[in-house]
């Protein structure tokens, strides 16, 4: 007990100056510090009420520096390494310790994530510098401070060398997300959305906190290196782990999963993400599409070996992902707000990523994260540009023919690029990354993955449909618009759309090009022989996502089908995964090119028919469905998001609210009224009782002092006599 206390006491001094083991490039830590510096400067700008675009310039420069440093780190990469910054938490006690350094762990998975996080972060900050300009001098600095906080936290999350760093970043991005969703804090909807995002995420965060605790208690460390060493020592096998881990090794993946589902908006915790669109659009693009929501994918990829310790963990991830993809796609089909459609599409695409992780295609998942970051960012940013130009109008029924309007060409065509990628149009980046996941669903056998594969293919068709529904409605057809309600004092009758200027157009082109180029890594040669999937596969290969130790699972993860085909399977963990599945009697990898291409084209065709060629048909179809008693539930339920929010309110929020009121009553009546006030009142009553003692007369003080001293001394001196006297009288009284 005492030694614990003393070691706690000994630590706050935190020998910050002891920068030990500097072997790795120390400048790499500035990837982390640059956003923090930017935060401080933006905070200063806010405090000094700067009325210029200085916060944007500061943020862009610092994020660009981070990006350049990440590039330097990537090109100078020689192998996974730990960059020690300072000792953070060191608690020792007899026979145990808890160590968490503020250190960075750089491997290729980290670099993959950091490249698009800092790269897109920089570009979106440039975009925001123009997008947010109506707030210059008001919330401008606050906005960029929020972006800086986010980038700092995200860097911690991705680059940290232990789970506590990840947790710091995890909470940090959650906080930044809250900050930025609630940016327009005058709007009740924004405040409600911010709260919802934060509270729903807490459920996941609880899982992460518990998982970290269990990992520490099972493996004795929370450092990635330490965990893989511990795993390697036990041959990555649940059976041998149960010797000292017991149930914990089985609980850990589910808790981590809960965290990932919360942050990455999967069933059943996805409800916060669509509402998060209340934030400014650059935030939606950066945090709620490209980067933060992929943190769950990162978490699972980073702790992949732990998921393989339980037989059902990864299949559950796959099923949740697949069902989320389908579910969100059906909702997205029936929405009219284009930003909301993109939000549901994000949930759906994240579902694909989890499906990829679940069916042991961590490479596919990572690749989809990578391509999705680009094409979803460009889609959101075009939505933002439209919103910006049409005074907040986002209803696809009230916008049409944007392609032909002056100054909207770049927006229209970059949106087309994004839509093509999202729809999985052949030879776009989204096509390759989605195919990698879909094919793997058929390759990896077990737990109904084949059904899941067909569901995912069906979802791909829906995706193509709702994506092009947006593009055909908004960008094609006759020119028509109605301004939204954010007119900033303009008269609705004299309203003219203001097309985006240089900064936004530049960023749109840059990210759209990125979305196109993101197809290239698939064909790029990689240094490691024997893996297909190109550059991204290599990035994943060199990380725990591949699996820290050789086993059958890893062989499939890598796509090393050569070995799997030959039946060379170290079938310790999962014999099912060792055999190679097929689709309709063909090799899934080849067949999927055709199947998903065709499905995508079908979806696109439907969209073309209903939303460009004969727009009236869509409305009449909806009316027909509504007219029939048997089918009317379908459009209503889809348009109302399957009533999930209402369900949660009825089943979770209302009972909790009632319980809360009840507790409040108990608290106020019994605990506050009787206990607390009673306890608090006692000392005051005593104080009142004692106050006559302090009557200010020196004589009475003297008497009290001497009397008190005499009393205590006499008591102490004659204690034995008093005790024996008392005893004797007691004994004398009893008989």
């Amino acid at each position: 007990m005492i030694s614990i206390m003393q070691s706690i006491i000994a630590t706050p001094a935190g020998q910050i100056d002891q920068l030990v083991d500097i072997v790795a490039p120390t400048w790499a830590q500035f990837i982390l510090w640059m956003p923090l510096i930017s935060l401080v400067l933006c905070g200063l700008c806010a405090a000094l009420k700067v009325k210029t675009k200085a916060p944007a310039i500061i943020t862009v420069i610092s994020l660009a520096t981070s990006f350049v440093l990440t590039l330097m780190l990537y090109f100078g990469y020689e192998g996974a390494e730990v960059i020690h910054i300072f000792e953070w938490i060191h608690v020792h006690w007899n026979g145990g310790s808890f160590i968490s350094d503020f250190a960075l762990y750089i491997d290729k998975l980290t670099l993959l994530w950091m490249l698009f996080v800092t790269g897109l972060g920089t570009l979106i900050a440039v975009y925001a510098s123009e997008y947010m300009e109506h707030d210059v001098g008001k919330g401008y600095a606050r906005f960029f401070a929020g972006v800086s906080v986010f980038l700092f936290a995200m860097s911690c999350l991705v680059m940290g060398d232990n789970l506590l760093m990840l947790y710091l970043g995890w909470e940090g991005v959650g906080f930044a997300s809250y900050w930025l969703i609630g940016y327009f804090y005058q709007r009740p909807a924004a405040v409600a959305a911010a709260k919802k995002a934060f509270i729903v995420n807490r459920i996941g965060d609880l899982g992460l906190a518990l998982a970290i605790y269990l990992i520490w208690s099972t493996f004795g460390t929370i450092q990635y290196d330490g965990i893989s060493t511990a795993l390697a020592a036990h041959n990555n096998d649940a059976a041998t782990f149960s010797a000292f881990g017991g149930w914990t090794v089985h609980a850990i993946p589910y808790l981590l999963m809960l965290a990932a589902f919360g942050k990455s908006a999967q069933l059943p915790l996805y409800v916060w993400l669509p509402d998060a669109m209340e934030g400014p659009t650059p935030v939606s693009a950066l945090i709620h599409a490209a980067t933060m929501v992929t943190a769950g994918v990162y978490l699972i990829a980073r702790t992949y070996p732990l998921f393989q310790l339980d037989d059902y963990a990864l299949p559950i991830v796959a099923w949740v992902g697949g069902l989320t993809a389908l579910f969100a796609a059906t909702i997205g089909m029936a929405q009219y707000d284009i930003k909301r459609i993109m939000a549901y599409s994000t949930v759906s695409q994240l579902g694909y990523m989890f499906l990829g992780l679940g069916v042991l295609s961590s490479y596919g998942a990572a690749y989809h994260v990578f391509t999705h970051a680009f094409f979803k960012a460009v889609l959101f940013l075009t939505c933002g540009a439209i919103m910006h130009g049409f005074a907040g109008q986002l209803d696809l029924r009230k916008l049409s023919g944007l392609r032909k309007m002056r100054g909207w060409k770049i927006v229209s065509y970059t949106m087309l690029v994004g839509c093509l990628c999202l729809a999985g149009f052949p030879f776009t980046s989204g096509y390759f990354s989605k195919d990698a996941i879909l094919a793997e669903a058929f390759v990896t056998q077990g737990s109904g993955f084949e059904i899941l594969g067909w569901l995912a293919i069906f979802t791909a068709g829906l995706t193509a449909y709702y994506t092009f529904r947006v593009w055909f409605r908004v960008c094609c057809g006759p020119e028509y618009y109605e301004p939204g309600d954010e007119l900033h004092g303009d008269d609705p009758s004299s309203f003219h759309p203001h097309p985006p200027r240089v900064a936004i157009n530049f960023v749109l082109i840059a990210i759209a090009s990125g979305a196109i180029i993101a197809a290239l890594p698939y064909f790029m040669d990689n240094e490691t022989k024997g893996i297909n999937g190109g550059w991204v596969a290599e990035m994943v290969h060199d990380s725990p996502a591949r699996g820290g130790v050789p086993n059958a699972v890893v062989a499939v993860v890598d796509g090393e089908h050569a070995t799997a085909h030959e039946g060379v399977a170290n079938a310790v963990v999962d014999q099912d995964h060792a055999t190679h599945g097929s689709i309709l009697g063909m090799d899934p990898h080849k067949a999927m090119y055709y199947i998903s291409g065709v499905v995508g084209m079908i979806g696109l065709g439907f969209a073309f028919f209903f939303h460009l060629a004969r727009r009236k048909a869509a409305d009449s179809l909806r009316n027909k469905l509504l007219a029939s008693r048997f089918t009317r539930w379908l459009p209503i339920a889809m348009e109302n998001k399957w009533y999930v929010d209402e369900f949660y309110i009825a089943v979770i929020r209302t009972p909790l609210w009632i319980l809360g009121k009840l507790f409040a009553l108990i608290d106020r009546g019994i605990i506050d009224g009787l206990l607390v006030n009673g306890i608090a009142g006692t000392p005051r009553a005593i104080a009142k009782w004692f106050s006559p003692l302090h009557n200010g007369a020196v004589q009475s003080y003297a008497v009290s002092m001497i009397g008190g001293a005499a009393l205590v001394i006499l008591l102490m001196m004659f204690m034995p006599e008093i005790m024996s006297f008392l005893q004797s009288t007691m004994i004398g009284a009893t008989p």
């Binding site: 001094a13 020792h92 020196v698 001196m717």
Partner: protein, 515 residues
């Protein structure tokens, strides 16, 4: 003889400073008169830096005192906190008088100028604290304690020209004399029971008595009487009654002085006296029980008394009573963990308490000294700096993590638990929780509440005390970074000559394990 004198160099420096201040204060040359406080500070700085030099010399051995290492820690602490205290009283004495002379409305009269005397007395009192560490016999101890106390009586009297201050000085003097008599009676009984006045010989006599079946009753009574006399100095129950009145009556700067200097002196004297009995086999039950009762009473009465006060100074006065109670836990716990914790706590308490009183000293409302809770309501509107330092100081006194005060309390409570004094720790924790009420009230009033509408706003009128408050608040925040160093120093200070066991510090070898 030379050895003894060598270790008294810091005291001599302060004594010289006192002389210079006393003479400088009646100089006809106004700039010198006005800078007496500055002169006193210079001597304190010299004394502060002389301590490590003096104790760093290996040519001189330190004979015959009970705790040879104690001087280094206490003298540095006294000089450092003394500096803060001198700055706190900056602008207090002779302010109006000097202004009148400057404006040509009055003439300088050495008999009416108090600044020199005040600073000389302040330095003399600090000299007394330092001398206690070097006490080798009871006579020395008594004289040093009186050197601490006597100047404070005068300081209270001349700090304010008001009836309350004079009344406070009178009470303080009378009751002080009474307690000194009690202590002297105790010393006499100790002499009777051991036949010597030298502390080390008393130790030997006591161990002889212990071997013969326990301390003589007369020795125990003597020890208890002496300790009760000393309890007056640390304002512990039942000798605490004077504290609220005197603390309220004196000017804030002097109150800060009273709350630290005599308390330090009393604490060290108690530690020295008890070390003659030794903690190795536990204190004699009568003494331990008496201290237990005193500690419990002090904590409870101090914290409960503070609850109903409307005067901030009175409230802080009661709070300082409670802090004595916490420190007594360390005294009971013994040399291994408890006494170092007491020394660390004295340092932390000295700084944060001085910061709290310095904030009050810097403020005035409508030309009057600030005292009531209404005066500090909404302080943040006129002086955010004062409000912030007040809040930090209160938070540290309450022991909110991670402020300095929290670590001090943690050390004391940990020592108590290690010594098995669970009941004492429960009382401490409960009374500490009660204390949250009035400390948080200070924070809430100064940071959150609205200023009272009627009357003038409270303003900062004196800069030096505010500077002290800010420095104290900064130390309260940044202090935990140097906590380990302070702990090591405190451990070194408490090194009982006989028991080498106390030297082994298992807790502090965390660093080695870490490798």
């Amino acid at each position: 003889m030379l050895d003894r004198l060598w270790f008294l160099i810091p005291e001599f420096i302060l004594l010289a400073g006192a002389m210079v201040c006393a003479i400088g204060g009646i100089s006809t040359f106004a700039p010198i008169r006005k800078r007496v406080g500055f002169i006193a500070s210079i001597f304190l700085v010299i004394a502060l830096f002389s301590v490590p030099y003096v104790y760093g010399q290996t040519d001189y051995t330190h004979p015959e005192t009970m705790l040879p290492g104690l001087g280094k820690y206490i003298k540095m602490m006294a000089a450092f906190v003394g500096l803060l205290l001198v700055a706190t009283s900056g602008g207090l004495i002779d302010r109006g008088y000097e202004r009148a002379i400057g404006a040509g409305k009055d003439r300088f009269d050495p008999l009416r100028a108090n600044s020199g005397e005040f600073h000389a007395l302040l330095l003399l009192s600090l000299t007394g604290v330092m001398l206690i560490c070097e006490a080798r016999d009871l006579i020395w101890l008594f004289l040093a304690l009186e050197l601490v106390s006597l100047p404070t009586y005068v300081m209270v009297a001349i700090s304010r020209w008001s009836k309350t201050a004079q009344e406070a000085a009178m009470k303080y003097f009378f009751l002080g004399a009474l307690s000194a008599a009690l202590m002297l009676y105790g010393f006499a009984l100790l002499y009777v029971s051991t036949g010597t006045l030298v502390l080390q010989e008393i130790t030997e006599a006591f161990s002889a008595q212990q071997n013969n079946g326990g301390l003589l009753v007369i020795a125990q009574v003597g020890m208890l009487l002496a300790i009760f006399g000393l309890l007056y100095k640390i304002a512990a129950a039942p000798m605490h009654l004077y504290a609220p009145d005197v603390y309220q009556g004196a000017a804030s700067a002097v109150t800060a002085f009273l709350a630290f200097v005599p308390k330090t002196a009393g604490m060290i004297a108690i530690i020295l006296l008890l070390s003659t009995v030794g903690w190795e086999d536990g204190l004699p039950p009568a003494i331990e029980m008496a201290l237990w009762v005193v500690a419990v009473l002090t904590m409870i009465l101090g914290n409960i008394g503070a609850l109903l006060q409307r005067s901030v100074k009175r409230m802080l006065g009661y709070s300082s009573i409670a802090h004595s109670g916490y420190m007594l836990i360390g005294v009971i716990a013994g040399p291994e963990l408890g006494l170092p914790a007491v020394l660390v706590y004295l340092f932390i308490y000295g700084i944060t308490n001085t910061a709290a009183f310095a904030t009050l000293a810097s403020l005035s409302r409508g030309g009057k000294r600030v005292d009531s809770l209404e005066d500090i309501a909404g302080l943040y509107t006129t002086s955010p700096l004062a409000a912030a330092s007040m809040s930090v100081a209160s938070g540290s006194l309450l022991g909110i993590p991670p402020l300095f005060g929290f670590w001090g309390k943690l050390l004391l409570f940990a020592a108590g638990i290690a010594a098995g004094q669970i009941s004492l720790i429960i009382v401490a924790a409960v009374s500490s929780a009660i204390s949250a009420w009035y400390y948080l009230r200070l924070i809430g009033l100064s940071l959150l509440s609205n200023p009272h509408n009627h009357g003038e706003r409270t303003k900062v009128t004196l800069r030096w005390p505010l500077a002290v408050a800010v420095v104290g608040a900064c130390i309260s925040i940044a202090g935990p970074l140097v906590l380990e160093g302070v702990m090591v120093d405190a451990k070194e200070a408490i090194t009982l000559p006989e028991s080498e066991l106390a030297m082994s510090l298992p807790s502090l070898e965390v660093d080695d394990e870490r490798e």
